[in-house]
C-alpha cells in the first residue's frame, strides 16, 4: 500500500498588499489572508493522480497557522483520505526548520512511503521545507520534480527533475522518499464549493499536537516593501503616447530595423 503524505503550507495571499508589522521585522498578520502555497497545490494534485493510479492512501498535513482549515477541507473535498492539523507553540509564522521538525515529529506516528511537497514557497527565508524535512527524516530527496512514476511493487520512484534550458533529468530513488514538486502532471483540479461545504459538514480534520524545538537560527533585522518601479523609468500618457515613447527609445538604441 502506497501511503502518500502531502505537507502543505499557508502563505500570504499576494492579491492583497502585504502589510508590515510595526516592529518592522515581521509581516503584519492581522488582516492578511492566507492561501495554500501554489506549489503545494501541485504536490497535492500529483498525490491525487498517484492515488487514482495506485489506489494510494493520501494524507495532507499542516501546521495550524493562517487559514489552514479552509485549505484542509478543500483537500478533503478533492478526495484525500485524511487531513491532519497540528497545533503547538510554534507561533503564527514558524520558519521552515521549525515546521520541518514539527512535521518529523508527527510523521513518526504516521505511515508514509512517499512525501510530496511544493519545491518552494514565497516565504522560504530559511530554506525549502521539503529538503529540510527529508534531512530530518534521513530520506532521499529530489526537488524541481515535474513527473512521478511509482513501480509495481511500490518500492521505488522514477522522477523527472527540471534542469535549465528545458532539459529534464530522469532519476530513480528508493521509497520512502521526499519529492519537491515543481509542477503536477496536470493542472490542479477544481473542487466545487458544494463539495467543500459538504466536507466542512461531514468530514473531520484530525488534530495532533507536536513540540517545536529550536528554529532556523536566523534573525530578521528588517522587512520592507521594495520601491515600486524603483528600476524603471515610467512612461506616461495615452496608449499612443506610450507607443511613441517606446519607439523613440528603441530608435535611439538602434534596435528598430
Amino acid at each position: 500500500m502506497l501511503d502518500i503524505v502531502v505537507p502543505i503550507k499557508q502563505v500570504p495571499d499576494l492579491v492583497e498588499e502585504l502589510e508590515i508589522d510595526p516592529s518592522g521585522t515581521a509581516l503584519g498578520l492581522e488582516r492578511t489572508r492566507f492561501v495554500v502555497n501554489e506549489l503545494d497545490d501541485h504536490a497535492l494534485e500529483q498525490a491525487l493522480l498517484l492515488k487514482e493510479k495506485h489506489q494510494a492512501q493520501v494524507s495532507v498535513i499542516a501546521l495550524d497557522v493562517g487559514d489552514v482549515e479552509e485549505t484542509l477541507f478543500m483537500a478533503l473535498a478533492k478526495g484525500v483520505d485524511q487531513a491532519i492539523k497540528i497545533s503547538g507553540d510554534f507561533g503564527p509564522a514558524p520558519d521552515n526548520h521549525t515546521t520541518a521538525r514539527v512535521l518529523k515529529d508527527v510523521l513518526g506516528g504516521l505511515s508514509h512511503n512517499l512525501i510530496l511537497t511544493g519545491v518552494q514557497a514565497i516565504d522560504d527565508l530559511d530554506g525549502q521545507l521539503g529538503i529540510l524535512l527529508s534531512s530530518y527524516l534521513d530520506l532521499p530527496y529530489v526537488g524541481l520534480v515535474s513527473g512521478v512514476q511509482i513501480d509495481e511493487g511500490g518500492s521505488k520512484a522514477t522522477v523527472l527533475k527540471e534542469l535549465p534550458g528545458g532539459v529534464k533529468a530522469e532519476l530513480e530513488l528508493p521509497l520512502p522518499a521526499v519529492l519537491g514538486i515543481q509542477a503536477a502532471e496536470q493542472p490542479p483540479r477544481y473542487v466545487p464549493v458544494s463539495r467543500v461545504r459538504q466536507a466542512m459538514r461531514t468530514a473531520t480534520i484530525e488534530e495532533r499536537s507536536a513540540a517545536a524545538e529550536g528554529n532556523g537560527h536566523i534573525r530578521v533585522r528588517r522587512i520592507s516593501k521594495p520601491q515600486v518601479g524603483a528600476g524603471a523609468e515610467l512612461l506616461e500618457g495615452s496608449s499612443e503616447d506610450i507607443a511613441e515613447q517606446i519607439v523613440g527609445i528603441l530608435a535611439d538604441r538602434g534596435i528598430l530595423r
Partner: protein, 325 residues
C-alpha cells in the same frame, strides 16, 4: 571555524554557469569582509581543467569522482557535507538552481548550519553574515542575519554581475579526496531528456517580445505576435503561458526555462516573479507593459508603462510599422 568564504562551482555540459561567476563576484567582496580566503569548490567527473577559469578565487579545491558526473545532487551533498565539516568555512554560497536548491537545506540540517535563501546581497558585518533577500514573489525585501556564523546562503541569480567573478588569476589548485563513500548514494541517474527540437531558439534572438499571464487567453496571442513580427522578434513567455500550453516549453524564460540576454526584452503582461526575472534580467534593455503598478517587473525594467496591454500593444505595433514604412 575558519573565516573563509566557499563558493560551489556549477557546470553544465562542461561549461561553467554564469551563476558560478556571480557567486565568485559576491565572494570576492565578502571574503575580505570576513577576513578569509575565497575558496571555489569544484566537483565533477573530469573537472580539473575548469579550474583555470576560476581566477577570482584564492584557492580551488576540486573533487573528481565518476559518480559526480551526472545530475545527482545527493552525490554532491555527501561530498560537500564531508568537505564543509573538515574545512569549516565562515560562509558557503550556493546558487538558487536545480543543483543548489537540492543541496542547501540538506547541508543546513546535516551540519547544523543556519541558512538564508533568496539572497540578493550578502555581507559580513562585525562577524555576522547579513543578507538582503527578495521574498513573497518580490513584494518584500527582508534583511536577515546569521549572528556570528558559520552559515549557508542560497543566492538568487543576478545578485551580482557575472563579469565581477571573471578575472585572471592563478589560484592554488588542490585535489581533495572524498571522505565519504559515494556507493551509498540512493538517487540513481537514468538519463537526460532534451526538449523537443525544431522550435525557435530564444536564447539566440536579439529581440524578444515576452508574454505573461496578463494576456489572459490563447487567442489574444496574435495581438502580441503582431508586435513581435513588426519588431522582427521572437515570442517568449513566462511559465503560466507554457503551463496553459499556449506556447511550447522552448519559449519559456526563467527558472526551468531558458536564460536569455537579448538586446531588447519587451515584457508584456508579465508580473515579474523572481523565477522569471532570473532568466531575463541581464537583457541589455528591458521594457515592461503591465496594468498592475505594483508588478515587480518594474523593478528590473529600464522603462515601464502601467497600462492595459490590449491598448498599448496594438498601438506600439502600428507605430513600429509606420516607422519602418
Amino acid at each position: 571555524m575558519s573565516q573563509d568564504v566557499f563558493v560551489l562551482v556549477e557546470h553544465l555540459k562542461g561549461q561553467l554557469t554564469d551563476g558560478t561567476f556571480e557567486l565568485l563576484g559576491i565572494g570576492r567582496e565578502v571574503a575580505p569582509q570576513a577576513g578569509g580566503r575565497l575558496v571555489a569548490l569544484l566537483l565533477g567527473r573530469d573537472v580539473r581543467g575548469l579550474a583555470e577559469q576560476l581566477g577570482a578565487a584564492d584557492v580551488v579545491l576540486y573533487v573528481e569522482d565518476e559518480r559526480l558526473g551526472d545530475s545527482v545532487p545527493e552525490a554532491y551533498r555527501r561530498v560537500l557535507a564531508g568537505l564543509l565539516q573538515e574545512q569549516s568555512p565562515k560562509l558557503t554560497l550556493l546558487p538558487t538552481s536545480s543543483l543548489g536548491m537540492d543541496l542547501a537545506g540538506a547541508l543546513s540540517v546535516e551540519l547544523n548550519l543556519p541558512m538564508i535563501a533568496f539572497c540578493k546581497q550578502l555581507a559580513v558585518q562585525d562577524g555576522s553574515i547579513v543578507a538582503t533577500c527578495e521574498l513573497y514573489g518580490g513584494r518584500a525585501v527582508v534583511e536577515a542575519e546569521i549572528p556570528e556564523g558559520p552559515g549557508l546562503a542560497l543566492v538568487l541569480p543576478g545578485a551580482c554581475p557575472a563579469d565581477k567573478g571573471r578575472s585572471e588569476g592563478a589560484p592554488a589548485v588542490e585535489e581533495v579526496k572524498p571522505s565519504v563513500d559515494l556507493a551509498e548514494v540512493r538517487v540513481r541517474f537514468k538519463g537526460l531528456i532534451e526538449p523537443p527540437p525544431g522550435d525557435v531558439d530564444i536564447t539566440r534572438q536579439e529581440i524578444l517580445v515576452s508574454v505573461g499571464r496578463g494576456v489572459q487567453r490563447e487567442e489574444n496571442l496574435p495581438i502580441v505576435q503582431e508586435l513581435a513580427d513588426a519588431l522582427g522578434a521572437a515570442l517568449s513567455s513566462s511559465r503560466p503561458v507554457v503551463d496553459q500550453q499556449w506556447l511550447p516549453p522552448t519559449r519559456q524564460v526563467g527558472k526551468s526555462g531558458m536564460t536569455v540576454k537579448p538586446r531588447l526584452y519587451l515584457a508584456v503582461g508579465i508580473s515579474g516573479a523572481p523565477e522569471h526575472v532570473e532568466g531575463m534580467r541581464d537583457s541589455d534593455l528591458i521594457v515592461a507593459i503591465n496594468s498592475d503598478a505594483r508588478a515587480p517587473i518594474f523593478n528590473v525594467a529600464h522603462y515601464g508603462a502601467v497600462a492595459d496591454l490590449f491598448e498599448v500593444v496594438p498601438k506600439l505595433a502600428e507605430a513600429v510599422k509606420n516607422r519602418g514604412a
